[in-house]
Amino acid sequence: MTAKCPQCGFRADLLTETTFHTCSQCSAVFRVYHGRSISEQYFRHEPDESLAWGALLGFLDAEGFCIPSRRGEIAFAYHPFWLADKADGGTLFKAGAPLPENFPSPSSPPAGDLEFAKNDPSLSPSVTDPQQAFPETIELKRLRLLQIPLYLINYEVAAEKYQATVSGCTWQIHANRLPQEGGLRIPWPRLTFLAVYLTALLTAGFLAPNIVWRLGMLVVILLAAWALERSGFGRG
């Protein structure tokens, strides 16, 4: 069987029926499925877990969602995706291997600097067969395997667990569920503070002999309460 290298075009005789091959001319790694050579490319990326976590926090903050108080568990890996050019001009993009449960996949290929894969152990070797990924009725013109750097983040907000996928190419966030602002929590320290304040106001209001005394006492109580509030008292 012969196959053409997708990077340099060199046509080589393949001695085995295995899937993985390395071009003897340009050292590019490519795969052969059903006699068809498929280029394997990856997005160049330097892993940075703190930046991925910061990007998730920034997204939650900017979009008005709850912020987790503790850093979540972050797993970085390259994940394979099929990118197919259809004969009618359109493209299809599908995950080459399922992501762990509850982690959504990007719906379109990210923008980035693509390079032909070499023998890199960090790239994911296992993918679904392209014939299973795409229905036979669709005529494919070109098929590529893209290895996309993804951060899978598990985090907790109010004892509930959430998952998010952060793209290492564009720092885009993909999530099925995001931590919404919780229900109305009763701020007991604040309510206690207001109850004491109101009691003091009513006591002064009823005990004051005339309007001048009443006004003076209420202003004093108001200023005292304001000073306490500004110092953080009663906020809980």
């Binding site: 910061g54 926090l57 990118l83 379109s108 564009t170 720092w171 701020p187 209001g205 009443r214 109580i221």
Partner: protein
Amino acid sequence: MATIVFKCPQCGGPFEFAEGDGSSLCRFCGVTSVIVGDRGVHRLVIPERIDLKAARTSLRKLLAAQGGGQDFAASFSFNGGRLLFLPFWRIRGMAMGWQWCEKETFKEEIDYDENGTRYTRRIKGPNERVFSLIAKPLNFNSPAGDYASFGMVRVGLAGDVLQCEPMDYPAAAARGSVIDPLKGVAQARQEALAMTRDSADAEGTVRRKSRVRISSEWLSLMYYPIWNLHFSREGRVYPVMVDAVNGEVIRCRFPGGNQHEPFLPLAMLALLVLGWTTMPAAGVAATILVVYLLKRRSGSLDIAAIIRLFAGMPERVAGVQRG
């Protein structure tokens, strides 16, 4: 039409040629150069006009102007940035072909009722079949990938107005990251033809058939520069996209600060107590004043907002968003 600057292969002098030209004459040495693209596709780049410092300043100005002053802008620290060259398919030429369509027709009839009042009736006529030839200039730009996370880039206008240069990959890669096109030219052509068909008059069309092709096609892959910056506050990272040609911030999401009003609810309670412990009329007046203040503060008497105010919960001020 874009103007492209090239170096003459004989004398090295700069000469310009218009987009679509197949050859050009050097005005210094008089040699004629034939223009060809890389594997049939001309690859051009619009050089960046602003540097990293200017991009950062542009964002800071936006934060100060829309986020409530210099303090807000200074609360975000700059973490770094990189230049990206985004590829766009650019197709110029003539869209030529034919179009057949069947349209509904209506005519208006004036009539009078028994009271003599005049009215107009709309009556459906026979369907009209129209065959027309299409021949119109095509100027189409389409992103060669999914750039939703980068915001809107006005490459179409820029490509017409600004000077382009032939793409020099090593030089561009030394300045930033050159993004690879993931959308094929076939899809870009389809989009261009679909735009040509859609722009034809479609009112009242029942059926339509057309066959349109691009003639005298000039195809190019144009790289547009943008700055991708990262700002952070309290460990949260906010990505920003700045147009590297005109310095405009094209995408950012910055949250506003939390606003806490401690004095207003306390003063309102004191006012109510003062009014109702003095005399009923004063109590009613105090209540009306409190209701007026609440309505003026938030524009309406929103119960949730009133509860939040008295419960001392901070409210988030609108942040700065683009794209």
